[in-house]
């Protein structure tokens, strides 16, 4: 059952990501991003990370995507103009990516036994557990991330403000 769900939502996720890249209109791309985010949330749920899945739906599929669509509509962005891309990309880029993916897939499949077991769901169930991890064990990365987000805001304001 798990495996079937994983395949369905994994495929949905990849298809959404491809559709995101191929669509011409920004709104369509944004809507496909919602598909990607929601199927990722299901994948988290399958791994046993309920909180992460809920946060993914609320924060990414909800808040951030609404902002995305708002901004796209406010800017009234039309469909994008396509360029054909460079020859180098077709000659080397795509075969290179394919080779890299093939190599990685081969290594993963043949050596998957050397990966350890990840335990996600067992000790991270309640909000209390989560807050213990977030505010005690991982306090420093948490705080550094908060400054990082501040920098992003600062930069966005500085870059978007009109120069007089």
């Amino acid at each position: 059952m798990h495996l079937v769900l994983f395949f369905i939502f994994g495929a949905l996720c990849v298809a959404g990501a491809l559709n995101l890249l191929l669509q011409r209109h920004p709104i369509n791309s944004a809507l496909s991003l919602i598909v990607v985010m929601t199927s990722l949330a299901v994948l988290y749920l399958l791994l046993g990370a309920e909180f992460l899945a809920a946060a993914q739906v609320i924060v990414y599929s909800g808040a951030i995507m609404v902002l995305f669509t708002f901004v796209i509509m406010l800017l009234n962005a039309g469909s994008e103009e396509r360029t054909h891309g460079s020859k180098m990309a077709y000659l080397f880029g795509f075969p290179g990516v394919a080779a890299l993916l093939g190599l990685l897939a081969f290594v993963f499949l043949s050596r998957s036994s050397s990966f350890g077991q990840a335990q996600l769901g067992e000790y991270l169930v309640t909000t209390a557990d989560l807050s213990k991890v977030l505010f005690r064990d991982l306090l420093l990365p948490f705080e550094v991330t908060s400054v990082l987000i501040l920098i992003a805001i600062l930069g966005a304001v500085a870059l978007a403000r009109k120069e007089h």
């Binding site: 190599l103 050596r111 550094v144 400054v147 600062l154 500085a158």
Partner: protein
Amino acid sequence: MSGVSYFALLRLTLPQIALALGAFLTLTLDLTVLRRRAQSTRFLAGALTACCGCVAAMLLLACASGQQTLFDGMMVANPLTRLIQMALAAFAILAVLLSVSSQFTRHVGEYLSLILFATVAMMFLAGTQNLLLIFISLEFLSLSLYILTGFSKRSRASAEAALKYFLFGGMSAGFLLFGMSLLYGLTGSINLMQIAAALGGPALDPLLLAAIVMVVIGFGFKVAAAPFHLWAPDAYQGAPTPSAAFIASSSKIASFFIFAQVMMLGLAGAAGSAGWQSYSSGWVMVIAIVAAVSMLLGNLAAIAQTSVRRLLAYSAIGHAGYMLLGLAAHTQQSLEALIYYVLTYALAAMGAFGVLGALEAEGVDELKSLGGLSRRAPVLSFCMFVFLLSLAGIPPLAGFFGKFYVFVEAFRAGSGELLWLVLLAIATSAVSLYYYLRVLKQIYVVQPEADAAEAIHTPLLHRAVLCVMAALVVLLGCAPHLLLQWIGQAMR
């Protein structure tokens, strides 16, 4: 982990907190009190507050002593990390002072505080042995640098450079994260020491090799080593000059230090060797290849450049190759030599960009427009002379000893198995002399163009800072033991 000492954490992060407070103060003062003042007043006052923050951080670092590790290696403080952090704060001061007279932006407070925040990120980067914090602070640093690159909004080149830097940086972050997740999957830990312990065995897993290659790709982007250098020439050319100076110096120090930490501590058991005919797989081979490609490509491409900044960018790629040579040797002495090299290189590179920044108002970027500069601005020309010769590695300047120590240590390591790489490095540094001298020939030998013969005026502060930096380059060249002893003591 039962009891977490929040107080100890606070005490260890005090320098970073001081710096962040300095940044907030700079921003607040600029947006409130100084809002309606002239640009130069705002820059001077902002630089003063920013420098106060840096000096406070340096004092706190100087007062601290001993070794401490918190949160499972997430926060590490020892003499070596403190030395690097102090150097980063010092370079932040120089970067702030060199940007005081620039005209490219009206958002003074934001600009100065971004430099300080980037330094905070680099300090966290230097003081950690934990993959999670390494990744977060690296992204923090990169984000600040993307914004600093695109800060000149009146210039199209700046926006283009920032976008390129951002896209390449995003890709490289993906590779780095993939590599790190493989390391975590293989060892079950994100602490470098525990990773090294878990990897212990001599047999090399193919998965580990994939992880090594990805991590090297990720860090290779950050240190601008070929073939992951594509962003560097555009970023160095398009970014506002003070930002370019900052990117070329401080971020190199932090990135190389953490690169060396990850490789030498975390992957200590998977080194392998890169001897000419005694090759065994491991990360040294990967680094040696990247180093060789960087040295060749950087130095050869620099010959063809007509823009001075692009020339400096390609020479920076070449220098990244020399520094990777110190990493490939992976001994304690070679790490010492690498730190000396990266510090002196950063000083000279920042100085060279500082001189270009002073000429920015004159619209000097092409090699041709430097003609006869020695008659128009003798002091600046002399500073450029010192910086470029130091970059080329001419004795008795600091750059010579940096190269000398790195080459000697690389040769000594593993009984001369890296000889082929050292020979390549010596040959390419002979090539590098050619293009550095081409710039100096324009400055000293060629006559100035007819329409540009009047003297160039530069602010006193800018000139003074450049002169101090040039004096430091000469001093560290004449007495390299001053810095080397310090590094040596810190490492023991």
